[in-house]
Symmetry: C2
Subunit: 274 residues, 2 copies
């Protein structure tokens, strides 16, 4: 399950493109197949989960019971790959840089297009992503180490258990941001407004408390430098459903590949607390 | 659909009882069959919607698309009338003062017990209620006119349309709280934290803007006195699904009777923004 450390191509013109629609077109044409971090800054990015209608209700209840890892931004109509609320005209089968296909809880493929997998009974869920509040954190002078280091993500499977719903059960995944205690206080204030994109941290301090044995070995992405005067601060992460798919041996689920998000038309301020 | 104006029995010992469980027992025994306003202050009260599993997914998507009128606090497991998260041991078939039964969009009965209606395929949804933030408003010196006047609710069907989901469509219902502009600003700040119980207001000022023709004729409850220096401030209301049931001609839905809420074990502070 571990994603190899991957650095993002620096100086690529995509970082200057401000239109989420145009960026989705680049991705659709296969011109961008890596991390979306730092792309379309100021627009909300989202985690993706696709399930057959037969499992959709239980999964939506799972999200309701676990709002920190699984804050739902949009649910498409059954059979429709178009997220009409967050990106009218987009196609969730082609507009993400990479996907993961799970069958009976096993990761079987990582395609860059899932058109051939689409069925009339599929429902897509867009789930908030902590990238959304990173612009707000930067404005509040909180460092984003992944951006400083030019890496995509740094996420861990924890010992925290999600509240189950039907067949959906599993641990919570978290993302790491190292910062000083003063910055952690400010970051808690700032992210509290972003309840739709994971909200306030779930933990700060000793990683062992939440079952992270080695902070230098993230489950997904690249390890981050933690300075002398800094503490690790952890936010719930939208990769959680992927770990749930494995533990719960879900019959059929398609997700984004970690860090390879869907870029919506929603300005970050739109998903901040209304 | 209009609920007759109803004043609450003053000085009843229930107002001094602090245990939600004991209050639910009083209600279960039929000793309290009226408004729950002012009862168990500090504990979250909830709107109730019960639907067959076949309609449950579309309704939960409706809630996701309309978080201000329909913020979901809990969804029970299919067939279970026990809200394990918010009130372990409670029974949603008996523990509310009064219910409404809708068939094909028509209100057919207002029982005080729905045990005889219960089926193995029913799912119960508890939806946040603006009573939750009234303690916080009182602490912020914002007046609650319904409490001052000793009446239950003052709610209006508006011209604001909810975002539809499948067969569920209809207008938004709002609750009224008159206050000064300065108090309205403070109330907006205070209620923003209570996103799980309707959050910030949806409108303030001219009632006609949201389709309220006569402020003295609420759809539910009793008209409220609005002082010279006050403006009407409106919050989304959890009665909305009842109006949706009628407009959408939903086959079978049970709800609470407006103002006759389910009292959970959750302190108000637990549902405030985490």
């Amino acid at each position: 399950m571990t994603t190899a450390a991957e650095t993002m191509p620096k100086g690529h013109p995509i970082y200057k493109e401000r239109s989420p629609r145009k960026i989705r077109e680049l991705i659709r044409r296969g011109e961008w197949d890596t991390y979306t971090k730092g792309v379309a800054m100021g627009y909300t990015q989202a985690n993706l989960v696709i399930l057959p209608e037969a499992d959709a209700f239980e999964f939506l209840v799972f999200c309701q019971r676990n709002p920190k890892p699984c804050p739902v931004i949009e649910v498409t109509d059954v059979g429709s790959p178009e997220p009409c609320y967050s990106a009218l005209g987009a196609d969730l089968r082609t507009d993400l840089p990479a996907y993961r296909v799970f069958r009976k809880g096993e990761l079987v493929e990582e395609p860059t297009d899932i058109t051939s997998y689409w069925r009339d009974d599929l429902v897509a869920f867009l789930i908030g992503c902590s990238l959304t509040f990173e612009s707000a954190l930067l404005e509040a002078s909180v460092p984003i180490r992944t951006i400083e280091m030019g890496v995509g993500t740094c996420d861990y499977v924890t010992s925290l258990r999600c509240r189950p719903a039907g067949k959906f059960r599993g641990p919570m995944v978290v993302s790491l941001r190292p910062m000083t205690p003063e910055q952690a206080i400010r970051a808690t204030q700032v992210t509290t407004r972003f309840a739709a994109t994971h909200g306030a941290p779930v933990h700060m301090g000793d990683p062992a408390t939440i079952g992270i044995a080695n902070i230098n070995k993230p489950t997904y992405g690249s390890p981050l430098k933690i300075n002398e005067d800094e503490v690790p601060v952890f936010w719930a992460c939208g990769i959680t459903p992927q770990v749930v798919a494995v533990e719960s041996q879900i019959e059929f689920m398609i997700t984004h590949k970690p860090g390879h998000m869907f870029i919506t038309d929603l300005p970050d301020s739109d998903v901040a607390l209304l």
